[in-house]
């Protein structure tokens, strides 16, 4: 009934047949969208007998999408030369620091190239690789041969009398 109405236009001249309905944001009660029923009450029907579902239209009221445009304030700030593009500086500075660090490391290594001995590291890396094969004497198959890297080819020997 009428008590549930959150907006009433007051009595309008019916002869106009038109009403400019201004939807304000507080109609939404903080929600993003609301389903709203628009009803019309002629003057010969009093408030108690009025049934909103008799002559009505249902529409959806939404807050509307907000486009992130440079608003007037931002534009005015930019015109005044105040621009808050700190993130520019951050975006630019990080790669610059990385590049400078690389260059410094390069020159540091280049200058120390004769004062450097990493054979232990190199050997360790190669041993790691050899570890895949392991030591020959450990191989069961080659246990009797002395460190021959190749497997022996089959040999066809003549049969001795004893074997006949």
């Amino acid at each position: 009934d009428l008590k549930a109405a959150f907006f009433s236009s007051g009595w309008l001249k019916n002869v106009d047949g038109i009403y400019p309905l201004e939807l304000t944001a507080d109609f939404l009660d903080g929600a993003f969208d609301k389903k709203v029923l628009l009803a019309i009450q002629p003057e010969n029907i009093n408030d108690e007998d009025f049934n909103p579902w008799e002559h009505y239209v249902v529409f959806r009221m939404i807050k509307g999408s907000r486009v992130a445009k440079t608003t007037k304030q931002q534009k005015a700030l930019q015109d005044a030369g105040i621009s808050d593009d700190t993130w520019y500086y951050v975006a630019l500075s990080i790669p610059t620091v990385v590049v400078i660090a690389c260059v410094v490391m390069y020159f540091f290594l280049y200058l120390n190239k004769n004062h450097r001995d990493i054979h232990d590291v190199k050997d360790f890396a190669i041993n790691q690789r050899r570890r895949v094969l392991g030591k020959f004497k450990d191989f069961k198959k080659y246990k009797k041969i002395n460190n021959r890297p190749y497997s022996e080819l089959p040999t066809h020997t003549k049969k001795t009398g004893k074997q006949n």
Partner: protein, 207 residues
Amino acid sequence: RKNIVKPKEKTTTSEIPKPWRRTIYSNEKEIVTPTVIAGVTFSAKPPATTNGLEPWISLDQSGNPKTKRPQIKGGKTVNPRPDYSTYFKSVATKTFSYDELKAHNMEEDEVYEELTFTDEDDTYVSLNPIIRCTPQRYFNKGPAGDISSEPFCTPRENKELKAGNTYFVSWYTRFFQYPDSDKTVENVQLHLFYLKESVYEKGLKKR
């Protein structure tokens, strides 16, 4: 570097249309003050000469005003001004008996009824430039689309209306009449109610 968006300068006329005077009902002088609502000027001074191609204002389905400019293309008028036929005329039936009419093909006891349409008083109605709502522009609503939207023409059912905007609600003025006479109701009131929606009705539409 992001180019600064320079919106085009909107030509806004800050000038308020000036009041103008006219004579109504043959001898009564009146000062009319135009008002601008949502970009539409109501009670504007009519042009001195009319050629039927003056711009008029239509409403889209949500109730937004749209300016229409009639043009003559190929002998036909495109976007003509709305024609309300007899929706805003008051109809009277006049009966003629045989004695009054004496038609040669009329029986003696026959009665002839004639409908006469009288124009409405458009002294003030003509100041409204927006298209008026007539039963022709009703639409169907409801889940099955079988309920007429009478007396409303705008806004349409389930339209999305944005907060902060102004929409024109239009209804057929002669829809409400006093029960004991066919006089049109003088005043009406509009009300807005919240509707509770089931999750199903709300749907999963992403905001």
